[in-house]
Amino acid sequence: MGIDLPLVWAVIILFSVMMYVVMDGFDLGIGLLFQFIPDRHDRDVMMNTVAPVWDGNETWLVLGGAGLLAAFPLAYSVVLSAFYLPVVFMLLGLIFRGVAFEFRFKSHEEHRHWWDLAFIAGSSIATFFQGVILGAYIDGIPVVDRAYAGPAFGWLTPFSMLSGVGLLIAYALLGATWLILKTSGPLQNRVIELARPLTWALLAMIVAVSVWTPLAHASIAARWFTWPNLLWFSPVPLLVALVFWRLSKALRPAAKTPHAAPFLLALCLVFLGYTGFGISLWPHVVPPAISIWQAAGPPQSLGFALVGALVIMPLILGYTAWGYYVFRGKVDASEHYH
């Protein structure tokens, strides 16, 4: 018995997607919060908190896509063609977001608001449709003869819309808590004020999704509420409650100025949500019926690609960590960044 290659690749892809959600999540969140912070200098500071790292964060999305094609070509082809329009909208949103980052700094004063608009719209569109894709993915994808067999707008459901809004709130909270970590003074106070309602909105969303998911999906309900799974999974909601309690405490007006705690707690929430998503669907890579082993390509392909991934991914991780270390600390308005 050799290595379970599909399992190894599933772990690599799950890890890549998680890295993406966590890291690009707060970048996109900055874009979502832009509309609430009209002051130009504040906006400069906000962008500077993520300017050195955002494109590194986005690379995880490309890696996830290429890895999915290499290891699970069936899943790649079915999932992406099933969610055709939302994937296209997401990619176009990311393009706008990406170039707005660069051209905003280089543009004339009077053109800058256009790039601000592109940044806000790009971030919002990309986030919303990522959430829609997530919700529609949980809803499941009908497959006949190795191809998507649902309608063109099969992804357009109340649940996927809710999930889209939920991700907007989640990324906005990640962005706000990141700014609490990276800024100081009036801007920091302003984002603390924004983070409070976002925390409660996210709690409401998590409750709504957690109630809706088992009601709408019998197979997920069966997984959650049978013994002994109930015991194994029970820490997830308990931890969510604990983290929310800590987060709301850290953001209380009377509390001393928070620093890293809100961001780390928000990361915990995202991680817990991701865990819940994973344990609901595992081991299906095309829910509700196609498992990672059924969708996997031939072992020759998985083994060949694995060699490269195992050599290069640690280097990418090391470089990423170094990049964050170099750019640690607060960004203040007087700082000249370019």
């Binding site: 490309v62 094609l69 290499a70 079915v78 055709y84 990619l91 706008f96 690609a305 490269g308 000249h336």
Partner: protein, 473 residues
């Protein structure tokens, strides 16, 4: 109105997005190697002109690289969104090759690009030169993976079909498939040519603007030398590529030549121009040179090669598109050789920096390398039709089952967004080029790079942040 079917829209969309994308990596490949040469010359001679040119072209490189990253994001997903059957059937081969390309590119970006673009002050000159060389090597390795994947689609081998799907049996055979060395060489040389033409046009532009200093002269001179050496070399490699294509994809060659029929014992002429007609199975109003077709493709006086009529109608590519794209590529190549020769003559007579007509020609030829690359890709990709994987999977069977409405919406959005975004990007790139290298009166000090670290001014470690802000003057 055009009555386009879903498959046509899907193909137009892929052609559109990949045509935008390919331009940036091609220039990235060429500029990376050019930067290695500039830095090597600087280290060897100590001449500050080379350093000034390095600083200048690394800015252009950085913006161009950023554009390539943004446009490449779409490509990583488009095989699944639009070509799901292709991904399912052949993803076992193209997926790992694409994954290696992505990993190579990230490795390059992670390890060496930062040092190359931001490390002047932080590492010694030797180490910096190593970083530049590694980036250039990385671009070539990336190209190798992509060309391996694409030429496998042209001349597949090293696989078996299991339940209708490709299973790789021998990765070396997959990668080193029959057309791979030719396509790789042809593409890398094309990237070098396109870059030389871009550099030459930039020099010519500055000369026409009356800016005549050692840096401008040096880059113009280097571009002309490159053109003189590489344009004829490309013709030779193109000839070998054609012979390889004749062996493995004869229908593509027949379409490129507009060659329908053989007559017993008669040589094949070369059709210079004409109007290929797929209905009538002939090329109308053909201007032909007797025997030249035989000479070029069989290297004999009377040799014959298969005509289009020997292929079933449903196995023929779109002849007019292949025919004209090929002529576009070859015509531009001829102009490149002419420009190279003219430059050599002017240099020999000592008038290279006193020839406004030559400069104008060089300026007009600036985009020709990129256009020739696009024409060449259209020739080889449309020429592979009706197959997506030659002889294995037909394009019509490879597409996702999207409606015309869906595809029209997505295509329209791609066109609008790409024109806006990459239009702005290209405009910005041209602004950087228009600024030109800094004049080198005496020894140019290395521009100070702000230090990183907590509480200190930060270096934004992104390619696009290399050129200064506020260029939109």
């Amino acid at each position: 109105m055009l009555n386009l079917e879903a498959i046509d829209l899907a193909r137009i969309q892929f052609g559109f997005t990949i045509s935008f994308h390919i331009v940036f990596p091609a220039i990235t490949i060429g500029l990376a190697s050019y930067l290695v040469v500039l830095e090597g010359l600087w280290l060897k001679t100590g001449n500050a002109v080379y350093q000034s040119l390095y600083q200048f072209w690394s800015k252009v490189f950085a913006v161009n690289f950023g554009m390539g990253v943004v446009s490449g994001l779409v490509m990583a997903y488009e095989f699944g969104t639009n070509w799901s059957r292709f991904s399912d059937v052949a993803g076992s081969v193209t997926g790992p090759l694409l994954a290696y390309e992505v990993l190579t590119a990230f490795f390059l970006e992670a390890g060496f690009l930062g040092v190359m673009l931001f490390g002047w002050k932080r590492v010694g000159p030797q180490l910096h030169f190593l970083a530049t060389a590694m980036v250039a090597l990385g671009t070539l390795v990336s190209a190798t993976w992509i060309l391996a994947s694409n030429s496998w689609m042209q001349t597949p081998q090293g696989y078996e079909l299991v339940a209708g799907r490709v299973v790789p049996t021998d990765w070396l055979a997959v990668i080193f498939n029959p057309s791979f060395p030719f396509h790789l060489a042809h593409m890398v040389i094309a990237a070098y040519l396109a870059t030389a033409l871009l550099v030459g046009a930039s020099g010519a532009w500055h000369l026409l603007k009356g800016r005549d200093d050692p840096a401008i002269r040096t880059m113009t001179s280097m571009a002309f030398w490159m053109l003189l050496a590489v344009a004829p070399l490309q013709v030779a490699v193109g000839d070998l590529t054609g012979l390889n294509t004749l062996e493995h994809q004869p229908a593509k060659i027949a379409a490129m030549e507009g060659h329908w029929d053989n007559r017993a014992g008669e040589a094949v002429p070369l059709t210079l121009f004409g109007l290929p007609d797929m209905q009538d199975e002939t090329t109308h109003d053909a201007i032909e040179i007797p025997h030249l077709g035989s000479i070029i493709l069989t290297h004999t006086w009377n040799g014959q090669f298969r005509g289009l009529k020997s292929f079933a109608r449903e196995d023929r590519p779109n002849v007019p598109v292949v025919f004209w794209a090929f002529r576009g590529m070859v015509g531009l190549g001829m102009l490149m050789i002419l420009l190279g020769l003219w430059g050599a003559v002017a240099r020999w007579r000592g008038t290279l920096y006193r020839s406004p007509f030559l400069w104008r020609f060089a300026l007009c030829m600036g985009p020709s390398g990129v256009l020739a690359i696009l024409a060449g890709w259209i020739t080889t990709e449309v020429g592979r039709q009706p197959w997506v994987v030659y002889g294995v999977l037909r394009t019509a069977e490879a597409a996702s089952a999207h409606s015309v409405t869906q595809l029209s919406v997505s295509l329209a959005l791609f066109v609008v967004v790409y024109l806006a975004v990459f239009g702005a990007g290209t405009w910005y790139l041209l602004r950087v080029i228009a600024h030109g290298p800094t004049t080198t009166a005496g020894s140019e000090p290395v521009p100070a790079q702000p230090a990183g670290g907590a509480g200190r001014p930060r270096t934004p470690m992104r390619p696009l942040s290399v050129p200064p802000d506020g260029l939109e003057a």
